[in-house]
């Protein structure tokens, strides 16, 4: 197989060197094992669990978007259905358990697979816009049905359960947050490894072929529809696992797990991370979860910032954060990464000033429009306190934003020149 690997970190040497391929996984496993030892607070564990679930879901989503070229606006359905079904399994077993909790995600996975199989039958006939619109319609249909079919979805309150009802697993009953973390982490590793290996199979390669040129794949004798359908089922399976992990962690599922907002946010996560790389969704999920946690603690308009970040990513860095990092692989290999340090350092101050001042202007505007009557005083960045209704802070913010934007425009050619130099295979090249 001379096909280049989709993963820049494990690309390169021949497939006969297993250590090179296994190393990132070993590092990941050790990191996952050590993380709760370093961050042992309840809040940190919750965030890490959420991160792990988002990673599994985002990886499953990227099987469609990145590997198969299918844009779905309703993928929360498969995660949600998997979660709902697992919750029912959990509740059925609560009286007379005969299975331990760690096997529950398998049920979620198969239920997600079943629904992906049914819906994929008509939705994968075409890729592109039609697929996207059908996924949106089906997503809305299931989300609205969840209010009507009370017996399965529990109506507006959703359904809940108790994870400690199942059989203990080697003495663990999963009442502790940390035990749940290790369950989630192990499943994260299994699912991620499964998806990675899947992407290396002929089937995974065919998904890429159909993404890049469906007609050519068809002329080679492969049904593009079946290839998409199988990818869709596989993605549904892993999304279902993510759903079951969600059920185990939060012990409640509602309409929110199925609706467009959830489907949209997984698209956001995956695209921010970078759809062209296997680790893209992982980076996306980690960054997004951290961003969401930190920003929502400090500002009411965090969703606006995330929206701006997303649109800016689509416009300027369509390969996402991972793509941005991968750009630096070449200067690194050429041994010219040092060329970039100086221009980056020069850009750092104006970039920071631009981001902070723009955010400040937005915050002032928001405070001036929405704060209660008489509540004119506001504080930003922990120590700046002023009257949000007076024009002065606004003017200062706008001036700083303007000046730093001007500085960035002035510095851009320098960066471009340094970049050209760093990626140029000249004297220091191989």
């Amino acid at each position: 197989m001379s096909t280049p690997s989709t993963n820049p970190l494990t690309a390169g040497t021949s497939r006969l060197v297993p250590l090179n391929h296994a190393l990132p996984w070993i590092i990941a496993a050790v990191a996952l094992f050590l993380l709760p030892v370093i961050f042992d607070s309840r809040a940190a564990l919750t965030i890490m669990n959420q991160m792990a679930i988002t990673i599994v879901f985002a990886l499953a989503y990227n099987m469609l978007l990145g590997q198969g070229g299918m844009l779905s606006f309703g993928h929360a359905v498969y995660m949600g259905l998997g979660g709902f079904f697992s919750m029912h399994v959990l509740n059925w077993m609560s009286d007379d358990p005969w299975l331990p909790l760690p096997v529950l995600p398998i049920f979620g996975g198969f239920f997600g697979l079943l629904f992906a199989f049914l819906i994929g039958w008509f939705s994968t006939r075409r890729a592109g816009t039609t697929f996207a619109m059908i996924s949106l319609g089906v997503g809305q249909l299931v989300a609205s049905l969840s209010i009507i079919i009370v017996i399965f979805f529990g109506g507006e309150e959703g359904i809940s359960g108790n994870r400690t009802d199942m059989l203990p697993f080697f003495g663990w009953d999963f009442g502790q947050q940390q035990e749940v973390y290790y369950l989630t982490a192990v499943w994260l590793l299994i699912a991620a490894l499964g998806m990675y290996l899947y992407s290396r199979t002929p089937m995974g390669r065919l998904a890429n072929a159909v993404r890049d040129n469906e007609e050519r794949a068809e002329f080679l004798g492969y049904s593009q529809r079946n290839v998409r359908w199988i990818s869709f089922c596989a993605s549904g399976f892993f999304a279902g696992i993510a759903g079951a992990l969600f059920a185990i962690n939060f012990e409640i599922l509602t309409e929110e797990n199925l609706n467009l907002a959830t489907s949209g946010s997984i698209l956001l996560v995956t695209f921010l991370g970078g759809v062209g790389f296997f680790i893209g969704p992982i980076i996306g999920a980690i960054v997004f979860t951290l961003l969401q946690t930190v920003l929502s603690l400090h500002t009411e308009i965090w969703a606006l910032y995330v929206g701006i970040l997303f649109v800016a990513t689509v416009m300027f860095f369509p390969f996402g954060l991972t793509g941005l990092l991968a750009l630096h692989v070449m200067p690194w290999k050429l041994g010219k990464i040092g060329y970039l340090v100086k221009p980056y350092a020069k850009m750092a101050v104006p970039t920071l000033a631009f981001i902070l001042s723009t955010a400040a202007v937005l915050e002032i505007l928001f405070h001036a429009r929405h704060a209660g009557r008489g509540d004119n005083e506001m504080t930003i960045y922990w120590w700046l306190t002023f009257d949000s209704h007076s024009p002065l802070p606004m003017i200062i913010g706008l001036v700083i934003a303007g000046v730093s934007a001007y500085a960035l425009v002035k510095l851009a050619p320098g960066l471009k020149a340094a970049w050209d130099e760093a990626t140029h295979m000249g004297e220091a090249g191989k």
């Binding site: 816009t129 039609t130 249909l141 009507i148 009370v150 698209l267 606006l304 929206g307 701006i308 505007l365």
Partner: protein, 318 residues
């Protein structure tokens, strides 16, 4: 019978409103091959801008100014956003418009808050146009119907009878040839995008007072608009019209006739469970038509796609 006529008219209002969005969306889609996910967001912007303007000058100024602002915004977004993303392919374009929809919703919440804003019909139209056996029909809805129909006549005239319209139609099928003949095709694209979004904005201006002006209005209507487009057949203007009207009527009738599944099941000869809350079929028994109404368009879409994947009026399999 009288309720039936009122429902026909109400459904017509919804259907025409849907078509005001679908027509612009279809034009943009057939021209650039990109489905503008943010189309309904421009509809929302139209309503909010008109509300803001109506606070200063009254309804009628908003009716004219708000769509123009929305159209200019749309043209600028096409020029500086979409055209940039176009080089990456169709899927990133769709993702871009999706991001735009999210961003516009956040901006609307940023400026006007999460609650519904009090955007009302003008006093000049705040009376009952006619009543059929006790069922009243407000004059504002008559105004909506006439506005929508007038807009289509103007659009139809421009597209089929004027030089600009001819250029647009030619650019739809053979952009390169039109370009070679000396027309500025990117400019035409920008213009069509601007006009399409302005129409969505106008729809928002006239629908805002009836359907409510709140941050969720874009996604509520947007999803239905996409259903219309897919059901009618992507790129087909007539298909969009038929699908819009069908879905408009479907929703209106479902909301006003309280048919119960219980009656149907009993008529079919099933026995009603004595202890409803213990029956596994309780949801089926308690189902009513108004409850099912909101999901009917999606169900309709799935059925159409299974039976006829290219949509009702689509020429090729989409």
């Amino acid at each position: 019978m009288s309720l039936f006529i009122v429902n026909i008219l109400d459904g017509l209002v919804t259907g025409l409103l849907l078509f005001m969005l679908c027509s612009g969306l279809t034009l943009i889609f057939s021209m650039m091959g990109v489905l503008n996910f943010a189309h309904a967001s421009f509809y929302m912007l139209g309503a909010y801008f008109a509300y803001q303007i109506s606070m200063f000058t009254g309804f009628w100024a908003g009716l004219i100014v708000a769509p123009i602002i929305v159209g200019v915004m749309g043209a600028l977004i096409e020029r500086y956003g979409l055209r940039r993303v176009h080089q990456y392919g169709h899927v990133p374009e769709l993702i871009f418009t999706f991001g735009l929809a999210l961003l516009i919703e956040e901006f609307v919440q940023f400026f006007w808050g999460r609650q519904q804003v009090p955007y009302n019909p003008p006093e000049a139209l705040d009376f009952t146009a006619f009543a059929i056996a006790g069922n009243t029909f407000p004059a504002y809805k008559v105004f909506m119907i006439f506005m929508a129909i007038a807009l289509f006549l103007v659009l139809l005239y421009i597209l089929t009878r004027t030089r600009v319209g001819m250029t647009i139609q030619a650019a739809l099928s053979y952009p390169e040839t039109v370009q070679n003949l000396g027309h500025n095709v990117p400019m035409v694209f920008m213009g069509v995008f601007g006009v399409g979004t302005a129409m969505a904005g106008l729809a928002g201006v006239i629908a805002g007072p009836v359907m409510g002006t709140f941050p969720g209005m874009a996604f509520t209507l947007g999803a239905i608009v996409f259903v219309c487009i897919v059901v009618g057949g992507l790129g087909s203007l007539w298909g969009a019209l038929v699908a819009s009207l069908l879905i408009g009527w479907m929703q209106t009738f479902a909301a006003s006739y309280n048919l119960r599944m219980e009656d149907l099941l009993i008529w079919l000869g099933f026995e009603k469970p004595t202890l409803m809350w213990e029956s596994a079929w309780q949801d089926l028994w308690t189902l009513t038509l108004p409850q099912v109404g909101p999901i009917l368009p999606y169900l309709f879409m799935v059925i159409v796609l299974v039976v006829r994947p290219q949509g009702l009026f689509g020429k090729r399999e989409t």
